[in-house]
């Protein structure tokens, strides 16, 4: 049987060549080991790169691993290459995305009920960006389409998996705890609004 050391080395090479997130399942099959062992190898590698503060890091997305650059180096990368203009999501797109991320699988009707306005176009836009996709049909009347987030969403927003999304209760807590003295804090929110 291959030693763990050479296996980890092989995983590194595979990730390098693969570029895209490499599925742990695929890597495990190649060595004919069980999934858990392969996953641990990747996790160890991730830690090693992290601890040594390397300019390449390993990122986990939905049980796949990939080489990426650390956040703090973006400045130098941008100096090296012409900065790419990243189009950020609009406020409404972010709201719809938040609803889909937290309520998935969710129908358009449910999204619209929360936002109080039609969201068809926004959802289409998110689908085009491959951040959300149709994940099935509801059993309700008319069998409406159910939407969910994709791996691209996890990747672009820096989540390893959906469990990593901050707790909805925590966010709610910040509203509620503000409540007694909300006048000060809410005013700050109101001031930031017109910048949209």
């Amino acid at each position: 049987m291959t030693s763990k050391k050479s296996m980890k080395s092989a995983f590194e090479s595979m990730m390098f060549v693969w570029g895209e997130p490499l599925d742990v399942k695929l890597a495990a099959e190649i060595f004919n080991i069980n999934w858990r062992d392969a996953y641990d190898c990747f996790k160890e590698l991730e830690d090693e790169y992290e601890q040594e503060n390397r300019g390449i890091r390993i990122r986990e997305i939905n049980k796949s691993f990939q080489f990426v650059t650390p956040e703090e180096n973006i400045e130098y990368i941008e100096r090296l290459c012409t900065p790419v203009k990243h189009k950020r999501l609009s406020q409404s797109a972010l709201e719809v995305l938040a609803i889909i991320a937290y309520k998935q699988p969710v129908t358009r009707g449910e999204i619209e009920a929360i936002r109080g306005i039609k969201c068809e176009r926004v959802i289409e836009g998110l689908q085009r960006k491959e951040l959300v996709s149709e994940v099935g049909r509801s059993t309700g009347i008319g069998r409406p389409i159910l939407y969910g987030t994709t791996d691209v969403f996890l990747k672009n927003f820096g989540f390893k998996n959906l469990k990593e999304l901050p707790d909805i209760e925590d966010i709610e807590g910040t509203i509620n705890s503000d409540e007694p003295s909300d006048s000060v804090d809410l005013q700050q929110i109101a001031l930031t609004l017109p910048e949209k």
């Binding site: 570029g19 895209e20 990122r59 938040a98 109080g116 672009n156 820096g158 966010i171 929110i189 017109p194």
Partner: protein
């Protein structure tokens, strides 16, 4: 109470209402409905004056606000009467607003996450065909891509077929008017007194080029007084007869 109207920044009626409530520094659990309704309606009025089209959803919320306002005017049932005190008419709205605010905050959180995510670079997958060393490719297509690829193939095939048709036709175009006229002459010399239908002179009746060629040959031969033709009515059959000139005039032919 004055407030600044910011145009086009509200993502929906709830967004506007949340803004108004926060701007007025009201407690979301104790909204002063009449004041907020007044502000909401004057905002809508301002938008209407500016001819900004407002989504119907804004109207729906305006109606809901007015409904709540009117319910607030009614005396609430005294607690001593049967059952618990009537529900605060604002409860529904407050719940919806809280739900909306929650996702607004989550959206802000996502925005920060996105900002962070944009600072991380990944490398796209390179061309791996050099590693596989085998010519066979694995098609990584979903059904929709496959269907569109197939449609593209069909369209291409149709085009090629059309080009082929043209190609064959162009070969046949080597049949010249002269050749056709010779054919017609031979046709009548076999039996000088036959009265033929124009259609009989055409070799390939489904071929427009052949029809046109035969027709122009006929006209040419009529001009040379070698043929006589008659059509009794429009779109009717054309009867063609040879003249003496055609039958006897062999020696004239070049």
């Amino acid at each position: 109470m004055g407030y600044k109207v910011k145009l086009g920044i509200f993502e929906g009626p709830f967004d506007l209402l949340v803004y108004l409530i926060e701007n007025a520094q009201m407690n979301i659990y104790d909204i002063q409905i009449s004041e907020i309704t007044r502000q909401y309606l004057s905002y809508m009025e301002a938008m209407r004056k500016l001819d900004v089209p407002m989504a119907a959803e804004f109207m729906v919320l305006a109606a809901a606000l007015i409904e709540i306002k009117s319910k607030m005017l009614l005396p609430r049932t005294a607690p001593s009467e049967e059952g618990p005190a009537a529900e605060d008419p604002r409860t529904d709205l407050v719940e919806k607003l809280l739900e909306y605010k929650r996702f607004k905050l989550l959206a802000e959180m996502l925005q920060q996450q996105e900002e962070q995510g944009l600072r991380i670079m990944e490398k796209p997958q390179e061309d791996l065909s050099v590693y596989t060393g085998q010519p066979d490719e694995y098609l990584d297509l979903d059904l929709r891509q496959f269907v569109s690829a197939f449609n593209l193939f069909l369209r291409k095939k149709k085009k090629v077929e059309e080009i082929r048709k043209h190609h064959i036709r162009s070969e046949k175009q080597r049949i010249t008017a002269e050749a056709r006229m010779a054919d017609i002459r031979d046709f009548f010399r076999e039996d000088p007194f036959r009265e033929a239908d124009f259609k009989d002179l055409i070799e390939r009746k489904d071929d427009k080029y052949d029809i046109a060629l035969t027709f122009s040959s006929l006209l040419e031969m009529m001009k040379e007084k070698k043929l006589e033709a008659e059509q009794k009515y429009i779109y009717g059959d054309i009867k063609v007869k040879a003249t003496e000139f055609l039958i006897k005039g062999e020696s004239d032919d070049e």
